[in-house]
């Protein structure tokens, strides 16, 4: 319905999309230039801070030759698989739980005290249990990712459900919608922006927790690669792993941001 919507021209002082992209690129370039400059100047021993070109070479080498058992691609895939399972489980359980807590008062009262206590236990604090319950199996890291990713899923779905305009629910009821339809066609779409915002936070926390988990309980993944590099005092390997973590985290966030935009569009928000 493009003809209904006034096109939004970038006003004076508000940067346009290409200008913003250029700014991001400039920021990155500046960062790499500074990094390169500091490393090349010799102020910091290259053992502590290798230059970007060293890291690039190292990543290339890690992609060809296995280190700590696997190539960097295999490590990354192992991490992504754990992340997908832990995050998927957190979303699949957390979002419905949050929605239903927002919908049914009794469930809210039943779950909230326990949830509020448990969610303050940091993901890393689950490491002993993860090791105890699952040994070195895949359950351990999933539990840790889950513990990081679950609370934001619940909280945002719950907030979304609580903020649904009551009159919309009433309208659906007067039009003959039963409980299931009211949940599926009013509660869920009304809460969707909040749910997706929660998923974004959740994915970030989940990915961070994953690295924590891999530092300890497994023998593959980028986190593991990092510890192995550290114990053998290979700073370039540690930094290569950090780059991989950062890049993948960024990609995950971009994907979820695209999802957020798609949701807003399906709400008829063209802005």
């Amino acid at each position: 319905m493009a003809q209904l919507v006034a096109s939004r021209r970038p006003g004076r002082g508000i940067p346009s999309a290409p200008e913003l992209a250029a700014l991001s690129v400039a920021g990155l370039l500046l960062f790499f230039a500074a990094w390169y400059g500091v490393a090349a100047s010799g102020w910091v021993p290259s053992r502590f801070l290798p230059g970007p070109q060293v890291i690039a070479e190292m990543i290339d080498r890690l992609a060809q030759q296995p280190y700590a058992g696997y190539t960097i691609q295999v490590h990354t895939l192992a991490s992504l698989k754990r992340f997908a399972l832990g995050f998927g489980l957190a979303a699949a359980l957390g979002v419905p739980l949050g929605l239903l807590m927002g919908w049914y008062r009794w469930l809210d009262d039943l779950v909230t005290p326990l949830f509020e206590a448990v969610r303050f236990v940091a993901p890393i604090a689950w490491v002993p249990f993860a090791a105890l319950w699952f040994g070195t199996g895949i359950g351990g890291p999933i539990l840790i990712i889950f513990s990081g990713a679950f609370p934001p899923c619940v909280i945002n779905a719950y907030r979304g459900a609580r903020q649904v305009d009551k009159v919309l629910v009433e309208a659906a009821q007067t039009l003959g919608a039963g409980g299931l339809r009211a949940i599926g066609e009013v509660l869920v779409p009304a809460a969707l922006p909040s749910i997706v915002a929660g998923l974004r936070v959740s994915a970030g926390l989940g990915w961070q927790s994953l690295i924590g988990a891999e530092l300890i309980v497994v023998s593959s993944g980028v986190g593991y690669l990092m510890v192995q590099g550290q114990t053998s005092l290979q700073t370039p390997i540690v930094m290569s792993a950090m780059v991989a973590i950062g890049v993948i985290g960024f990609v995950i966030d971009v994907a979820l941001r695209a999802l957020e935009r798609a949701v807003r569009r399906s709400w008829g928000d063209q802005g």
């Binding site: 319905m1 779409p189 969707l192 008829g268």
Partner: protein
């Protein structure tokens, strides 16, 4: 329909009586309008008929049964439209039919009919936020009409319309009710609108909301043959119309006693 209805609300640890001893009946296929100052409990009454609110004392009956909850036999046009922002105009209008299980081709035909009736052609796939307030209101009205309900409950359905569209909608509503009479409870701030549309007008007083008087319009309309006139403004020029309008205005004014008058009487409709 309403029998000795009372409704109290709690407001900061205090019981506030919003409605006190309201009794009136809307006959089968009768069109009843409620007018009264803002905050006198009109919306509360309508919500009780819809099954979205319940009396503190007394009872609300539809047919022989006490109202237990909302249902598609009593369609509501909400004061705040209450359109689903994630659904297009078409999907909003068709929502009730889908709940009912109407097959999709029959549904599309009904939706198309109301889109045309409400002058929404070309906006079928637009989202509510892309429409003006008046257009949103027309979608809300279409959504309720599309269900062809036994009882229509309308809370200032024309409130957000401009004067011309409002007149068109009033004439459409009159036509619609003549072709297919149905029981209707209609809240409005416009005395003219109430007198023009309704068979009876309930005039309410404020805090707590009580019934001041119930005026019979239908007998005057029949006697003076208002139906013969096609347009709102012609009816509004009739002496019988002006007489009724003035009577209602006097009732509303005498209970104001210094308080601001809700709305301005001058503009027809």
């Amino acid at each position: 329909m309403f029998r000795n209805v009372k409704r109290a609300f709690r407001r900061s640890d205090q019981e506030v009586l919003a409605l006190d001893d309201v009794s009136f009946e809307v006959g089968e296929k009768e069109f009843v309008a409620i007018v009264g100052p803002s905050g006198c409990g009109k919306t509360t009454l309508l919500r009780m008929a819809a099954g979205l609110d319940f009396p503190s004392a007394g009872s609300v009956l539809v047919g022989a049964h006490e109202v237990a909850g909302p249902g598609p036999d009593r369609a509501v046009v909400f004061q705040q439209f209450a359109l689903f922002p994630w659904k297009t105009v078409e999907e909003n209008i068709g929502f009730g039919l889908r709940c009912r299980g109407t097959p999709s081709d029959a549904r599309a035909a009904i939706v198309a009919r109301y889109v045309e009736l409400m002058g929404l052609q070309g906006y079928e796939r637009a989202y509510p936020q892309q429409l003006s307030g008046g257009m949103q209101q027309r979608v809300a009205i279409a959504r309720s009409y599309a269900l062809d309900p036994d009882v229509l409950l309308m809370d200032e359905p024309f409130g957000a319309l401009d004067a011309q569209t409002r007149v068109v909608m009033q004439e459409e509503l009159i036509k619609l009710c003549r072709v297919n009479p149905r029981t209707a409870l209609f809240i409005t701030h416009s005395v003219e609108e109430a007198v023009y549309l309704a068979d009876r007008v309930v005039v309410m007083t404020r805090s707590p909301g009580r019934i001041r008087e119930i005026l019979d319009i239908a007998s005057v309309r029949r006697r003076e043959a208002w139906e013969k006139l096609e347009h709102v403004e012609e009816v509004m020029d009739l002496e019988s119309f002006v007489h009724l309008r003035t009577r209602i205005w006097r009732m509303l004014r005498e209970q104001q006693e210094g308080a601001a008058v809700p709305g301005v009487p001058a503009q027809p409709a």
